[in-house]
Symmetry: C2
Subunit: 476 residues, 2 copies
């Protein structure tokens, strides 16, 4: 580094990167065949690259045992992850106290997408990757999904293709630790990275260069772009292009990404609102014995809630096909019912705003984070107190079909979650008053927050990836 | 709120607020008498508003006892704070393992400065407040220093003047939770707030409206602006004025505050560097019994390190004079020796950059934070491994007098720390290569980071307040 040469103003430089990615979002055809051809190829790949995951009793898992103190279900090697018990006190919440199993995997993994320009258009290197919890096996994943043990110690990066780009990034577009599901992971974060290279990149089997526009189009197909991809995509800077034709919605979406977008609330006020809520939040969590967790029992070889609510901890036997044949057993979380992740969006003075809801979740590290407008599972909420019902649920459930701008089912991460999916909705509405705990924000404001940890939860990020994916696609 | 009317772009609005505060920084005379008169008044106030704090054995403290399990020194009411033992594992640090006492006070307090315009110039409402740990009693403190118990429950805000402005802020200029000393406080943060009002404000005894320029001038006087004020001041947005005459240093300082300031590193790269270091950081802390803390013993009625290093936990008997006469006893931390908090600054292409050092400290919540270039106590470091010696210590200690732009002794918070002070230095240097763990950043970059928690430690914030205080003061 020549330390005597400052670069141009950092914000202008970031804006230039965001503009190039927006250009990629508006490019429907890149170096990879057209989308229909790509999808046919995905179907073909499914035939030889897949995993099967068969539920088995937890007692049949090889090497997984309750720890002698009954606190956790753990692998005898001490590796992978543990399922532990947690007792939660949230005196101001609709349910002031409960116990639950939760996944304990304190390390920070890397979720990284490699970017390279072809013909002046940035492309994303995406991997077709089977994961055992996926209903349909194969989904589009980031270039790299690496656990910490993949990239530290003597094996530093060997065995994980392309990991070297993320350990020593040539050019960083995004790099931020973001939370995983706060209801199911205890204080877990992954490092979400987007890195660009100008050098030659060998394309390995199962990897494909796609434009952001192509990835965005795939978001509209059920169960196709995996959760790790969606959270990384949500952290990718975009900006207003002005080049979006079509309807008012598309133009308002584009404007919402611009640094000059008018906003209902100054960002300082949004930050102050979050700061105040966090300073006032009263949530205490403590380890609890998994073996004797109040409200939970072990039946049929799984750990279930006594009222059949929330989720089960199940065992699965996995067989993976592909170039290497492999098989193993592991615990997984299986949610009950299909979840709902919905964003209400509205046009305020020509700028699209999205309504976010500040939510406390027991696994989050630093207090409440912004979730989508509605984050909900019908089986569960039906039996919770009325106060737990999301404020705008009816508005979402009764949305007129023509107001629905996005509607696709998206999978939770297939390495830990079994057939666990959320219907993702983006619904256009007229400007509404903000219920308690809700704020209308611009996409630029979410993007500024997403440069930092602990602001937007994984459901909000997943939904924002879908909303941003509409850029340039709603017109005419 | 009329939710249908977006405000102008948030960043422009924030910039307007920053511009007004910069104007205040350049205003040497406000509604309060001139600075010499103000200082004479401070000396006069000392005569009737003071506290005396006399060291006493810990066993003489009234109501403070070791908890039955030996883990903590606590007040029998359960209130105030506790001194606990902590064992620390930092396998990659120069000292890989140690134990220490640390203050446990998990609540988030409010440190708030109220702002109001007089004659078109924003003024800060500062309080002359005696605190027992201060060597000189009285110092300038924020409008409000409130613990959580001051502002929750049935007593909501009664008894703390001006607290209502911070519980329901009319206009927020800054509001962010920031860490306290990571070596002495366990996961403690306070909410740093700057709030503006347009309404009438009754000025109570001991409170004074000062321009930011006046407060900045007082920073140059030893032990005058307290730590709580300095950290809040560091979070106050400023921007380039262009109106600074004088020398190249002053102009480079002004430019460094501008949103268009060229920077050595894109902010995305700074964030990526921090993210990477945090993802890789290996520090584990665990509660340890204070009564049997390895390396520490109880002698002469205090808890001291066996080699007389670091700090002591002492008892003090406090007598406060003023309108109410009051007295109490409490434990305090007394550092050994005067600390050093130094910033190296350099001109890169006409823009002042400051060299910050990413440091792990056991009490920090979310991994390493950026500290000053050098954070050091000679008595302690003299006996630590050479690797613990700050990289640029010699450069600071041997700085030519003409390169020293700021030099004043500043007190740590006088409610918890007894006669604990740090010499604050700002030293101008030529551009230097960055030692490992160090980065040159602009003041605008520090300001952008300071909108969020967990980036800059309290020593860095205190030093930045001093550096920013030179705005408009170095010329001619």
């Amino acid at each position: 580094m020549n330390i005597q040469t400052p670069v141009r103003p950092p914000e202008l430089r970031a804006e230039a990167g965001a503009r190039r990615m927006a250009h990629s979002a508006l490019t429907a055809q890149g170096v990879t065949p057209s989308l229909p051809e790509f999808l046919r190829m995905v179907e073909k790949t499914r035939e030889h690259l897949f995993t099967t995951a068969e539920p088995v009793p937890l007692s049949d898992l090889q090497g997984w045992r309750h720890t002698p103190d009954g606190m956790a279900l753990a692998h005898h090697s001490g590796g992978f992850f543990r399922v532990v018990g947690l007792s939660v006190d949230m005196p101001d919440g609709p349910v002031p106290r409960w116990s639950q199993p939760i996944i304990d995997q304190p390390e920070t993994g890397i979720l990284g997408i490699l970017v390279k320009e072809f013909g002046g258009v940035p492309h994303l290197l995406m991997q077709l990757k089977p994961e055992p919890g996926n209903r349909n096996g194969l989904q589009l994943s980031p270039t790299v999904q690496a656990t910490r043990s993949n990239y530290t110690g003597v094996h530093r990066g060997r065995g994980v293709p392309y990991l070297e780009y993320f350990l020593d990034p040539p050019r960083v577009l995004a790099d931020v630790r973001q939370s995983e599901q706060g209801a199911w992971f205890l204080r877990k974060r992954n490092r979400n990275m987007v890195v660009e290279t100008g050098g030659d990149v060998e394309v390995r089997e199962g990897f494909h260069w796609l434009t952001l526009g192509q990835v965005n189009a795939l978001l509209a197909v059920d169960d196709t772009v995996n959760m790790d991809s969606r959270t990384v995509l949500s952290c990718l800077p975009l900006t207003r292009t002005g080049a979006v034709g079509g309807d008012a919605f598309g133009a308002a979406l584009d404007r919402s990404l611009g640094p000059d977008a008018d906003a209902l609330h100054p960002t300082t006020d949004i930050l102050s609102w979050i700061t105040g809520a966090r300073a006032a939040a009263r949530m205490a969590t403590a380890p609890a014995a998994l073996r004797d967790l109040p409200g939970w029992h072990r039946v049929d070889g799984r750990i279930s809630h006594e009222e059949e609510l929330f989720f089960d901890v199940i065992g699965v036997r996995v067989e993976a096909s592909g170039r290497e044949v492999d098989h193993w057993t592991q615990p997984m979380i299986a949610a009950r019912g299909t979840g709902l992740v919905a964003l209400l969006v509205a046009d305020f003075g020509g700028v699209l705003h999205v309504l976010l809801n500040l939510r406390a979740e027991p696994g989050l590290i630093d207090g409440p984070e912004l979730g989508p407008t509605v984050q909900y599972t019908s089986d569960t909420y039906a039996r919770l107190p009325a106060a737990a019902r999301p404020a705008l649920l009816d508005r979402v459930l009764d949305a007129p079909p023509e107001s629905i701008r996005f509607d696709a089912v998206q999978s939770d991460e297939g390495g830990r979650f079994y057939h666990t999916v959320n219907r993702h909705l983006v619904i256009e509405t007229e400007p509404l008053p903000e219920p308690p705990g809700h704020r209308w924000v611009t996409l630029r404001q979410t993007q500024d927050l997403l440069r930092h940890s602990n602001y937007l939860n994984v459901q909000a990020r997943s939904a924002l990836a879908c909303l941003r994916g509409l850029l340039g696609r709603s017109g005419g």
